[in-house]
Subunit: 211 residues, 2 copies
Amino acid sequence: MAKDEHISMSVVRRLPRYYRFLYDLKENGIVRISSRELSQRMGLTASQIRQDLNCFGGFGQQGYGYIVEQLYTEIGHILGVDVLTPTILLGAGNMGHAVANHMDFEQRGIRLISIFDNNPALIGQKIQDVEINPIEKLDEICTENKIEAAILCIPNEVASQVVERLIKLGVRGFWNFSHYDISYNHPGVLVENVHLGDSLMTLSYKLNENR
Amino acid sequence: MAKDEHISMSVVRRLPRYYRFLYDLKENGIVRISSRELSQRMGLTASQIRQDLNCFGGFGQQGYGYIVEQLYTEIGHILGVDVLTPTILLGAGNMGHAVANHMDFEQRGIRLISIFDNNPALIGQKIQDVEINPIEKLDEICTENKIEAAILCIPNEVASQVVERLIKLGVRGFWNFSHYDISYNHPGVLVENVHLGDSLMTLSYKLNENR
DNA sequence: TAGATTGTTAATCGATTAACAATC
DNA sequence: TAGATTGTTAATCGATTAACAATC
């Protein structure tokens, strides 16, 4: 199906949103949709939608539009939801808890194998059926489960050492809630940053600009 | 100081990162920095940095570089950190707790006035000195405190009604952790979305693309 | 067939990078 | 003055939009 070798990140970042909209359409029993109608619902141009969808091969039918179910499945496939990556979560504070509780990992291509924390009070507890283990067990669990990705909900100060250690254990992707600059310090490693502080400051900017 | 009327969002989204780097430089006692050195530390081009900084007036000195302290202050000013916007947080679940505990609001131009939840067990508790109030007090507290912004850590299903109600109460900016499409349904309202699910799927994509 | 809507090429727009004269 | 580094203009690159022939 993959038509083009390279899909630009601008396109990739729109895919999860398409995926959500298509899910809703599907749930509402809508079978087909044209780029024009989808563009109106999503606040995009029809042209952009057709351009985007064409990056990975034509699924539309001329004169008819796109089959919702098929497009949904295909975008999910491209996003990699049907291959579960063994993943661990580091840090079971508020943020770690929130993430572990609400992310529906298995719908998103992630299998959460273990949570780690160094607070003795938390060890042995479970969040959504995933056990919280002491940091001492990190090496053992990573190796045994061929862990490939890690979610960092730990303080900045410890992030640097933890990342170093994880990369040695074979982790090649990070969902990073800390400010530690992984991509810069470890080129080649796959990183998706969630910089909540930056996002909040952007809101501040908008509020101010508009005052 | 504002030289150009319009600063593009691509530039604005880089500002918080400049701000962080400048803070670190400042803390390390570094007084001046050239665009070239900063570019190396941040993994950008020197050209882009000069271009970015020039959007809001020249602060550099030819042949010398930029004064760290001055640049830090100025970017903070542009981001609006020195005007605190009265803000409320809706939803004191794991995510609400995480956000309330870790965001350092006052460093980022936000004053958190009240937290709301409908869980009776939480009412009256405080997070970082901010009280959790029942949703019944929403109108009163918003009006009394001239609330302008709201942080949504509530489930999707209730977001739509809550947003409607808040806009009527004068809220004009949202930090949105839900998937409810505020900007589409309420054009003109300022929105900064945090779509964690989308971000996680982007990581899935990267992990898969690289397999 | 006629109408609709795609896939795709071309045109436009915006953002990034390169180059260099101005100047500290 | 000589060297360094900015501010700014020009060139390039990439992403979005427009247009339209292909075709269901």
